[in-house]
């Protein structure tokens, strides 16, 4: 099901990427996300999920194929330019500047906006994350795991991305915090931001996603409506490493 036309917020065609040319980890992925969707990328360990989204963000070299944001081809654009084309990326670890204050984390991201828009935009994002607004001059390194994740998402949202990509936002968080984070992501999605999410936490992710891709060995193995995949015990057991009973 390839979404066609200008509506695709993100698409890749036969994308091959990795750290070494003769040993690509992403081996030809066709992928498409429509504007406004929330899509989750699943798959067993070592399937290349993380490498795939890092290639989209420009952190991993692409050897062949293309990646586009809307109408703009970004395959070989430098990272900072992709941000200006509307891509927000939240890495799995080290996704905040621990030595900077909360405000500086947000201000840094706002510096690419036109000057008059910066402070209003920061205020807007802070409204969404009241935890961060409370003590703006606190060093980000002192935040709790959940607060860090919120700051990372907030930082990525500042530049008003059309597409937000998150690499395992639930990693290392308690179930309660994961629920908070996911609820927050759903709200962000409903406010019009397209979201692509890499997850190990299959159940929670399928719970908020519209659609899911399952990667195996660097290729797309399955693609479909999230609800349908969640109910398919064969898919759950074979590709997601969870028992059928858990996944239902």
């Amino acid at each position: 099901m390839m979404a066609a036309g200008p509506a695709a917020a993100l698409s890749t065609r036969a994308l091959v990427a990795g750290y070494e040319r003769d040993l690509p980890i992403v081996r030809g992925i066709d992928f498409s996300v429509s504007s406004g969707e929330l899509v989750v990328v699943l798959g067993p360990n070592g399937a290349g999920k993380s490498t795939f989204v890092k290639a989209i963000a420009g952190l991993v070299p692409v050897f062949s194929g293309t990646a586009s944001l809307g109408d703009v081809e970004i395959t070989h654009e430098p990272v900072h330019r992709r941000v200006r084309h509307g891509l927000g990326f939240v890495p799995q670890t080290e996704n905040i500047f621990a030595s900077l204050s909360i405000d500086d984390n947000l201000q840094l991201a706002a510096d690419i906006l036109p000057k008059p828009d910066r402070q209003p935009r920061i205020a807007e994002v802070k409204d969404r994350f009241p935890d961060l607004a409370a003590r703006p001059s606190r060093r980000a390194g002192q935040l709790s795991g959940g607060q860090r994740q919120m700051l990372a998402v907030a930082r990525a949202l500042i530049a008003q991305p059309s597409l937000l990509v998150l690499d395992e936002p639930s990693a290392g968080l308690s179930p309660k915090i994961v629920a908070d984070v996911f609820r927050q992501l759903k709200t962000i999605n409903q406010s019009g931001v397209t979201i692509v999410l890499v997850e190990q936490n299959v159940k929670a992710a399928l719970g908020i996603a519209d659609r899911a891709y399952i990667l195996v060995e660097g290729r797309v193995n399955h693609e479909g409506q999230a609800a349908r995949l969640a109910d398919d015990p064969m898919v759950a057991e074979l590709y997601l490493g969870v028992r059928a009973t858990e996944a239902s």
Partner: protein, 339 residues
């Protein structure tokens, strides 16, 4: 070939071999273990002064001059340089790699300063003379004298080479390389990795001290100006040209670079008027500096390259790390800049 020429060739080769010893010492530190020493000249100077003090005849104008046998001086030189290396290593080994570099640079500066100013011990700017020369009894016959010295140095270099090669292939040597090549292995070994690095650094420093002692006895006098950063630079150039990690390369590099150095110095004194010679000499350094940088850029493993002794297993581990995206921090700057 005339006798003079033969004697000169023997002299040239003997000098080259003293540099080869320094190179072998640096190779233990850098080539095998990846420790960067910017103060080679300092450690060589420690060996030279220690040996000179132990073996030179008593001099009323300064302390020392124990008049001991040459062999005692050489061993003393090696031990003192090894000891200072140990101290500096112990100070910096647990810190970031370039702290060691900065500290060794400090050693070189301080040693030179001490040699220059601690006149009662070091003779100050005039240095120490009358250092006993091996085979001094035959000094009347320049050719025989040179050949004997050459033979002695050749034996020392050969013995060192064999010992280091053996060490390199021992479990200790393999561990060192594993630590150097592979952060994962280093982390697994934890404290032990630091201890191994420290041992290697002290041994390398000791060898440099031995080189300093050997050179001092061959020339017969020493002065602070022999141990400027220039010397450090020369030894580095020798090792890089020969190929770091490769003992044969270290020796070959020493002979080659010393040859180029001596030849270009000869050329300068022949071609330029005396007033311009200092200037021309600085251009000589510029050329070698550019060459060093060019080798780092184009052939970072040197001209001979490293002898491949790394086990397949270690390479496999490295492969895994790369795949997992573990990279050194500097790589991260490069990546962020170039993607």
């Amino acid at each position: 070939m005339s006798v003079e020429l033969l004697a000169y060739v023997a002299f040239f080769l003997t000098m080259a071999l003293t540099y080869a010893i320094m190179c072998l010492g640096l190779n233990v530190q850098w080539g095998q273990t990846g420790l960067f020493n910017v103060g080679v000249a300092g450690f060589v100077a420690i060996g030279a002064y220690a040996s000179a003090l132990l073996t030179s005849p008593d001099d009323p104008n300064r302390l020392g001059g124990a008049d001991l046998p040459i062999a005692v001086g050489w061993i003393g030189g090696a031990l003192s340089a090894g000891f200072v290396s140990f101290l500096i290593g112990a100070l910096t080994m647990r810190l970031r790699a370039d702290y060691l570099a900065i500290a060794t640079f400090g050693v070189a500066v301080t040693v030179q300063l001490t040699a220059l100013n601690l006149e009662p011990l070091t003779g100050g700017p005039f240095g120490i003379g009358f250092i006993p020369r091996p085979f001094a009894a035959w000094a009347g016959d320049p050719l025989l004298f040179s050949l004997c010295n050459l033979a002695l140095l050749a034996v020392v270099v050969a013995a060192l080479y064999l010992a280091l090669e053996k060490l390199l292939r021992s479990p200790w040597g393999r561990l060192l390389r594993a630590i150097r090549e592979d952060e994962l292995a280093a982390r697994t070994l934890g404290k032990n990795a630091t201890a191994f690095r420290l041992q290697a650094f002290a041994i390398g420093g000791g060898i440099m001290g031995l080189a300093g002692a050997a050179q001092a006895h061959f020339i017969g006098f020493i002065a602070p100006e022999n141990y400027t950063p220039m010397l450090t630079f020369q030894v580095w150039a020798m090792l890089i040209v020969g190929g770091s990690g490769n003992n044969r390369g270290a020796i070959l590099g020493a002979v080659l670079v010393w040859g180029i150095w001596a030849a270009s110095a000869g050329l300068i004194s022949a071609v330029f008027p005396p007033a311009e010679q200092a200037r021309a000499a600085s251009l000589q350094i510029v050329t070698i500096g550019v060459a060093l940088c060019a080798i780092l850029l184009l052939r970072p493993r040197g001209i001979l390259g490293e002898a491949r002794v790394i086990s397949r297993h270690v390479e496999g581990l490295q492969e895994d790390e790369r795949r997992m995206g573990v990279d050194d921090i500097n790589g991260a700057v490069g990546r962020a800049e170039n993607t």
